[in-house]
Amino acid sequence: MRRGWRLWAAALSVYAFLYLPLAVVVVYSFNDSRLNAEWIGFTLRWYEVLLHDREMLLAAGNSLFIALVSSLAATLLGTMAGMAMHRYRIRMLAFMVLTPVAMPEILLGVSLLLFFIQVLNLTLGMLSIVLAHITFSIGFVAVIVRARLAGVEESLFEAARDCGASQWQTFRHITLPLILPAVVAGGLMAFTLSIDDFVITFFTAGVGVQTLPLRIYSMIKIAVTPEVNAVSTLLMLLTLTLIVLASRFAPDALKGKA
């Protein structure tokens, strides 16, 4: 079993590589020092600073609002897309749903920037961010919903039809209850993606509106203070909760992500 021991050692060091950086961020958020260099003593000072940082709170509010609106819309459209992809062979739809998920984010970001300004003549802000977030979230919801539908016996729908159920009745009483966990998981995924998104928001936000990731970005670009550690820790806690919730509703959803 000497080989097994070596495999364990390699794997454990990869786990350490994954967790050590985040642990350092969390630990330093409680460190009573301006510098992220050595441990001085325990403090909650940086969380207090955070609570009084108006700009940060405003950004957090924006992020929540954007995530709520865009994930609701993306859940609706993504569920439809997932159902359509499962039931009908519409090549164009599959292409349009899956490509934004697979391509580098920057491409969607700059093309939407061009589109909003050049074609819609829109002032970049809340609306443009929400529209952009819906666009990139639809695919994730659709993939999760389609995966769920793929695991459903086709005979259930046939039986409903044979019993004389209309399209709507079949949807309402058979399809919807079956896919609901996937819909909820997809919605939570869309919410998380929206709260977390930096790249696409960076290009579609303009100058007026800040989101949490945009605020963090400008903070780490200008001056790193432990306040960033504090907000990072809180953000970790939030997304962690959402991911745990999502995995409760659809255990396979997380695996479908990659």
Binding site: V25, L107, V110, S232, I243
Partner: protein, 306 residues
């Protein structure tokens, strides 16, 4: 006969209606917010830059105002070696990131796949969990770890000082960019690899052992070739986003560590040369398509393994 017919037409009409009710809204939304913007960008890459940034008009009757379509930006792209160099550098960074990710992910994926079924889900979850933190936070963490006052820099420089060498800066360097890239994309390699390795039949390894193959031979003759599809999908999932990444070089890199993504960002938000930014984006898209095509082609070639 007649009522039956009408019933049939009615139900087929309902079916068709349902089809469009379900697929119509997402089709329409994505056509407007994904397809159209992409088309606009292709068009923009053939236009002239505007006098004050943005785009010059397509049509103009005012003499002296640049308008219409042109290949100028594409000529410009190929006329200056710098842009081709940035593309090559981005490819190298993407390749290095992919290889390092593969090297780190393989033992981990193998261990998870060979663990008892009960603990596998937890081990996979532990790989995904760092995703629960914001992308920027994960990058920022390395600003702390690689900073000049951090233990790692101190230790390395102490050793260097022993040999009388000049101290190194870990942060704001190509090294930092590579570390950040690997860190952020590692799970994308672990998950497809694990999904593949988990399906391997352990009987194959037993059979090989009975035939006298040692551990090394069993790995290279059986496990590795069988895992090729997993490696390829993992490689595509790492390589493609790295190719277009601008935030990591922006945060962890120095001024000389520009990649394609930084170049594109600069054109759209800095110099505001939108036609050239669009051209760069089209070139990036072509590069991504080429990589995806290659991965799919290699995957097909290796199908007989699985």
């Amino acid at each position: 006969m007649a009522p039956e017919m009408s019933e049939k037409t009615q139900s087929s009409r309902a079916t068709r209606l349902a089809r469009w009710l379900v697929s119509g809204p997402p089709l329409l939304f994505l056509a407007v917010f994904f397809l159209l913007p992409s088309a606009i960008m292709v068009l923009a890459s053939f236009r002239y830059p505007g006098e004050f940034g943005g785009l010059a008009p397509l049509f103009s009757t005012v003499p002296g105002v640049l308008h219409g379509l042109t290949f100028e930006t594409y000529q410009f792209f190929f006329s200056d070696i710098i842009y081709v160099q940035v593309f090559l550098k981005s490819f190298l960074v993407a390749l290095a990131t992919t290889l390092i990710c593969l090297l780190l992910a393989y033992p981990l994926a193998l261990l998870i796949a060979r663990s008892p079924k009960k603990s596998r889900d937890l081990m996979v979850l532990l790989v995904i969990l760092p995703f629960a933190s914001n992308f920027l936070v994960r990058v920022y963490a390395w600003m702390i770890l690689l900073g000049p006052q951090a233990a790692l820099s101190q230790a390395i420089n102490a050793v260097l000082a022993l040999f009388g060498l000049t101290p190194v800066h870990l942060l704001f360097s190509p090294f930092a960019v590579l570390v950040g890239m690997v860190y952020v994309h590692l799970p994308f390699m672990v998950l497809p690899l694990y999904t593949n390795l988990e399906k391997h039949d352990p009987m194959l390894l037993d059979a090989a052992q009975d035939c006298g193959a040692n551990a090394w031979q069993r790995f290279w003759r059986i496990t590795f070739p069988l895992s090729m599809p997993g490696i390829l999908s993992g490689a595509a999932l790492v390589f493609i986003p790295v190719l277009g990444m601008f935030a990591i070089p922006d945060i962890l890199g120095g001024t000389g560590d520009m990649l394609i993504g930084n170049l594109i960002k600069e054109q759209f938000l800095g110099t505001r040369d939108w036609p050239f930014g669009s051209t760069l984006s089209i070139m990036l898209t072509l590069a991504v398509l080429a990589v995806a095509w290659l991965a799919a082609r290699l995957g097909r070639g290796g199908k007989y393994y699985a």
